[in-house]
């Protein structure tokens, strides 16, 4: 093992520990602000691993988009919601985390066995890191042209949809005449099911079962 390989190994170990530690923190902390900040830690460590793989452009994009945009958005959402609600402890609350832990551990064992058992076909050609952007650009305008252009349609419609959902509607005052049933604006025309039942605004069976849990 020469010096370069040693540095690589050590930095990989540091990044991996950082990533797994902060990912566990995201899941286990009950304070959602801590989780959001630790998520940024996960993203930064992933971009470090991209750097180790010679993918400098992807690493930059990872930091810019995930840490700079997505994570900041999550933090804004948390700040804007700003609602404190104390949940009363459920009976048998330990069952669900235990089940989740068992399932996750099983999945981890399965996937790591798969990774170790499979004889992977390693790519032998070495990519010099100076030309990654050029390579990506060439792919975008030759064999990945169709998905690249389709992504623009996807982004356009995601933007339109986000505006529709976030837009404030100016609702006209509806005159509800008793003889003619008028549907309130921006709702489904079907009446909610438990209209005559127990006084509740809940709609589906699932809500009922959730309440009784």
């Amino acid at each position: 093992m020469n010096l370069a390989e040693g540095v690589q190994l050590v930095s990989f170990a540091i990044l991996a520990v950082m990533m797994i530690g902060s990912a566990l923190g995201v899941v286990l902390f009950s304070n959602i602000v801590y989780s959001a900040f630790l998520l940024a830690g996960v993203f930064v460590s992933i971009s470090g691993i991209y750097l180790l793989l010679n993918a400098d452009f992807v690493a930059t994009a990872q930091i810019l988009i995930y840490v700079g945009a997505v994570n900041v958005l999550i933090l804004f959402a948390i700040m804007l919601v700003n609602k404190r609600e104390d949940f009363k402890p459920l009976p048998n609350a330990w069952v669900r985390p235990t089940m989740t832990a068992i399932v996750s551990a099983g999945l981890f064992v399965l996937l790591s066995t798969m990774v170790l058992v499979t004889p992977w076909a390693y790519s032998t050609e070495s990519v010099s890191s100076d030309t990654t952007i050029v390579l990506i650009g060439q792919h975008f305008f030759s064999d990945f042209l169709l998905p690249f252009e389709l992504a623009s349609v996807l982004l356009l419609m995601a933007m339109v949809g986000a505006i529709i959902l976030a837009r404030r509607e100016f609702l006209p005052d509806q005159v509800i005449t008793p003889d003619k049933q008028q549907q309130p604006v921006l709702t489904l025309p079907e009446r909610p099911r438990e209209l005559v039942g127990i006084s509740s605004d809940k709609t589906s069976n699932l809500d009922d079962s959730r309440r009784s849990e």
């Binding site: 004889p119 042209l145 169709l146 998905p147 549907q183 604006v185 589906s204």
Partner: protein
């Protein structure tokens, strides 16, 4: 690689139908921006005209000698043309039924149609995509537009619940799918094209490795979410109940057809080495879907929820054709989806009409409808009976072709289970018909007693009427005059080269073509 050479290689003419849909989408979005709210008079008709033009363009590309385009990213063979046609037609019929519904709910029509066209575009690209990145992007285009449409009536808590559930479950299933796809990329040593993946994996002797099996399971989980096969169906009833009804119609036909197109192409091109494994997994999914969908539908009181479970059951029937793995099996899938398009959309058109007039979708409220609205009763009865598979109607011929293909391929247990669950499904379809037709006048429900005068001249009602009559005629006649549809389904499969190796390797290859033509002559 110079420019002229590149243009030649891209062969971009194959996506002309998608180009037409995209142009229509742009015209609608920009036109609505310029003209304002009064644009909602012409926008839906522009969209329908664009979709029909796309279908015509698809027809002109039939039997294209050079289907591979975009350097292998898109494959416009006859199989994809049929599926793209199904998706475009289903959107056209869905738009017919959505005009009045959206106007009455007070939401903006132009944006709704824009999002629906984007979903159509995603589904059409998904049917032809033969490369992993294209598959993923078109799948996301379809999914994200579907999430947006689900939450379109945003002041209704049911719609919010549906959108959130669909988004969360959809995002996790996409994640699982992506993991499986990335394993394929890794196992094949960096290939993204489906045909190259299969040969690279075979060359590297990885055909029985654990990684390939896990990748198969993960990919099937993603596909099964799209076609809402049990046990990946949990989102279906709640999303169907809380979404605007035209969206449900699109999800149950267009989105499902895209899912099946993806399933056929991915399983045949990328996993030909694991044919026994994927047929086994799909058999389990089909059994669960048929049993669960049809049995739970018995207990439903809301029409939308009932149709949700019925669509799970129908997905189970269609999977029989996929499991059969023969030419006849795939052709029967396409034939059934073509027929299912008309009968299911007809049922949803009736549902919308009844909801708009009475404001409810409870099954019990339909009692005695025959006295007040004979046309609606007739159409809903025909469509539901056809979904159940009652003989002279289209659904019967679709089912019998599916079961025949399954039987030929040796799937005896599956076909028998299909027959039993069909009988169960006939019970709950007939229950609604009986409710509407048989009841005495004094047993009429409150909603039907207060049934408003039938007015077809209200804005947006004409297209609804056109859609109603169109689906009614198609559902009643497609069974008797099914020969063109049969020919269409069979020839599209016969000309699709990616499906041929599988047919040769299966045990029944020698008998199938002969009996296939025998069935055609019987028809």
């Amino acid at each position: 690689m110079d420019f002229a050479n590149l243009v030649d290689q891209l062969n971009a003419g194959t996506i002309l139908p998608e180009g037409i849909v995209l142009t229509t989408l742009m015209v609608i979005v920009v036109g609505d921006l310029i003209v304002g709210r009064s644009a909602s008079r012409w926008i839906p008709y522009t969209a329908i005209a664009g979709l029909l033009a796309a279908v015509v363009a698809l027809y002109l590309q039939w039997n294209n000698p050079n289907p591979i385009s975009f350097l292998g990213a898109f494959n416009s063979d006859d199989l994809s043309i049929v599926f793209r046609g199904i998706i475009a037609l289903s959107t056209a019929v869905t738009i017919l039924m959505s005009i009045r519904y959206i106007e009455q709910s007070g939401t903006a029509l132009a944006e709704f149609i824009g999002i629906m066209l984007t979903a159509t575009l995603g589904g059409m690209f998904l049917s032809g995509a033969s490369e992993l990145v294209t598959i993923f992007i078109s799948l996301e285009t379809l999914s994200i537009s579907s999430y947006l449409m689900t939450g379109y009536t945003k002041r209704d808590p049911r719609s919010n619940e549906a959108a959130l559930k669909y988004l969360l479950i959809g995002a996790s299933s996409t994640g699982v799918f992506l993991y499986g796809v990335s394993l394929l990329y890794g196992l094949s040593g960096g290939e993204t094209q489906l045909s190259a993946i299969a040969s690279a994996i075979a060359d590297a002797n990885l055909s029985q490795s654990l990684g390939l099996v896990i990748s198969l399971v993960f990919v099937i989980a993603g596909v099964a979410f799209k076609i809402s096969a049990a046990p990946f169906h949990q989102w279906t009833p709640d999303v169907y109940e809380g979404s605007p009804t035209p969206v449900v119609a699109f999800l149950s036909v267009g989105s499902k057809a895209a899912g099946f197109a993806l399933a056929i192409r991915l399983m045949n091109s990328a996993f030909p080495l694991l044919i026994d494994e994927w047929q086994f997994v799909f058999t389990a999914l089909a059994v669960l879907s048929m049993v669960l969908g049809n049995v739970v539908a018995l207990a439903q009181t809301s029409m939308k929820r009932m149709l949700a479970y019925s669509s799970i059951g129908q997905a189970g029937f269609v999977m029989i054709g996929l499991i059969a793995g023969t030419e006849a099996g795939y052709a029967s899938m396409i034939f059934y989806l073509l027929v299912y398009l008309f009968m299911n959309l007809g049922a949803f058109t009736c549902l919308i009409l009844f909801t708009l007039r009475t404001g409810t979708d409870q099954i019990s409220e339909y009692s005695g409808l025959y006295q007040k609205d004979p046309l609606l009763t007739l159409c809903l009865s025909i469509c539901l009976l056809s979904l159940g598979g009652i003989p002279p109607l289209a659904g019967f011929f679709g089912k019998i072709y599916l079961f025949w293909a399954g039987w030929q391929a040796g799937q005896y247990g599956l076909v028998l289970l299909g027959l039993v669950t069909t009988v169960v499904s006939i019970y709950y379809y007939i229950r609604v018909v009986r409710m509407m037709v048989v009841k005495e006048p004094q047993e009429m429900s409150d909603a039907v007693k207060n049934y408003p005068e039938v007015q077809w001249n209200l804005p947006g009602m004409r297209p609804l009427q056109v859609g109603l009559v169109l689906t009614l005629v198609a559902t009643s006649l497609a069974g008797i005059l099914s020969n063109p549809l049969f020919t269409l389904a069979n020839s599209s499969i016969a000309r699709t080269t990616t499906l041929q190796p599988i047919v040769i390797s299966s045990h029944f290859s020698a008998t199938v073509p002969a009996e296939n033509s025998a069935l055609q002559t019987q028809q």
